[in-house]
């Protein structure tokens, strides 16, 4: 094979590093991506300083979002504070009876819960369990349901990576995650009410398909097998390429009951090749 001349090699060597990004580029593009994709998409690329600042703010945490955003740290930290704030509003402002009841407990628990939510939000967005990254909370979360949950993390990350969809509003995300959490905790009725709440507020929201998928899971958990199947089939027809299809199929078609209809088709074949 043709070899390059020594002079050309010298040219290449001299050019080494010339096309590397300037020091400010990484942060600049990251901020733009966060603005475009939403905070959950790229929070894990935040600088160590921002993480440390947030952790410190979370430890101080009684005032929650106010404390988090008051430190003059990065825009990302402020956005996370906003997410934490929305989590609080999204929970406290709901009119659903069970949720309103939960909201009434907030005054007593607001300090510790805000702190835990702030920490959990960061852990979820950083994609790491607190036991892995050495930033463990000095005290345990007051409720198991507020701890790190791998499935919740997976759902969050799946939502963050949603292809070709609008970015979900934080309040919308919180409702879906609350529904997921209730379902995981074995309370499908509460999950259903969160989903009702989501449908009322975000009927055509970016996470509508998550809501509809979760309806099927709720029906499964409630033992409404026929309804779950009908819902699963309807979902697959509506969202054939959804990453939730396998999940719904596992749930709605796992029971050994005679099936009235063939299982839905799987997601389209996946490829490593980029498809623009």
């Amino acid at each position: 094979m043709t070899a390059l001349t020594a002079e050309t090699r010298r040219l290449i060597a001299l050019s080494h590093g010339a096309d590397d990004p300037p020091p400010s580029a990484e942060a600049a593009v990251r901020d733009r991506l966060i603005a475009e994709l939403g905070v959950t998409a790229l929070a894990g690329a935040a600088s160590a300083a921002a993480v440390a600042a947030t952790d410190a703010a979370g430890a101080a945490g009684a005032a929650g979002a106010g404390v988090l955003s008051g430190g003059g740290t990065t825009a990302l930290v402020k956005t996370v504070a906003g997410l934490v704030l929305v989590a609080g509003l999204g929970t406290g402002a709901m009119q659903n009876e069970a949720i309103a009841e939960r909201a009434r407990e907030w005054p007593a628990q607001v300090a510790v819960q805000t702190k835990v939510i702030a920490r959990r939000t960061w852990q979820l967005m950083m994609g790491r369990d607190e036991t892995q990254d050495g930033v463990a909370s000095p005290e345990k979360p007051p409720e198991p349901s507020l701890g790190f949950d791998a499935r919740r993390h997976a759902l969050l990350m799946a939502i963050a990576r949603r292809p070709d969809r609008p970015v979900a509003k934080e309040a919308e995300l919180v409702l879906i995650l609350d529904a997921e959490e209730a379902l995981t905790a074995g309370d499908p009725s509460l999950a259903a009410r969160y989903l009702d709440q989501h449908e009322t507020r975000f009927a055509e929201g970016a996470l509508s398909d998550n809501r509809e998928a979760m309806r099927v899971l709720v029906d499964c958990a409630l033992g409404a097998a026929e309804k779950a199947r009908a819902g699963a089939l309807q979902f697959v027809r509506k969202y054939p390429a959804s990453d939730q299809v396998a999940r719904l199929r596992a749930c709605a078609f796992a029971a050994p009951v005679v099936e009235a209809e063939a299982p839905p088709p799987l997601s389209p074949p996946r490829s490593d090749k980029p498809n623009l």
Binding site: A28, D243, P256, L276
Partner: protein
Amino acid sequence: MATRQPGAALPVPCADTLARIESPLSPSTPSAAVDAVPMTLADVYRDHFAFVWRTVRRFGVAPPQVEDAVQDVFVVVHRRLLDFEGRSSVRTWLAGIVRRVVRDYRRTNTRKPALAGAQTDFLVDDLSGGHASPEENVMANEAARLLHTLLDQLDDEKREVFILAELEQWSLAEIAEATGAKLNTASSRLRLAREAFEQGAQRLRARDAWRLK
């Protein structure tokens, strides 16, 4: 060990199924990848930002548009991350995305090689401070300017292969994967790219247009 018919549905109760549900991000293929932590956009960004940036630039996006193009690359990564199954390496997958984004940019945002000279003006600023002496800065600026001038003379396919082989030091197998070409094709393109690059360099030398000494 119990056996079951291939493809038979597991009669798992729904509640159990819920508890065992795989992450939607889990690799669909069994075996070693099952326990792997899903790759996130943040991971890709942290580990490959510099590669994406310089590759976008070297593949031919004009300096003022590099930041936009890099952003577009990561938006595509964000969209396509679920499809990445780990059969290829992350960087070859990324290079495939970069080349498509760059080609779109070059098709829509540039007016062709007349801009070549103007595109390298920024290098003076970007390189300042990166070298020990003003002489070294001048030399590095000049080298980078010439490199881009010569790269601009290659067609897209040769340019991509040349950059990945000579500047990124990739293997032919990686280049073939990234460019979607067969190994022989990639090898042939690299040979032609080297020849074309050397011819361009000779033309420049003949015109006494560059001095690296």
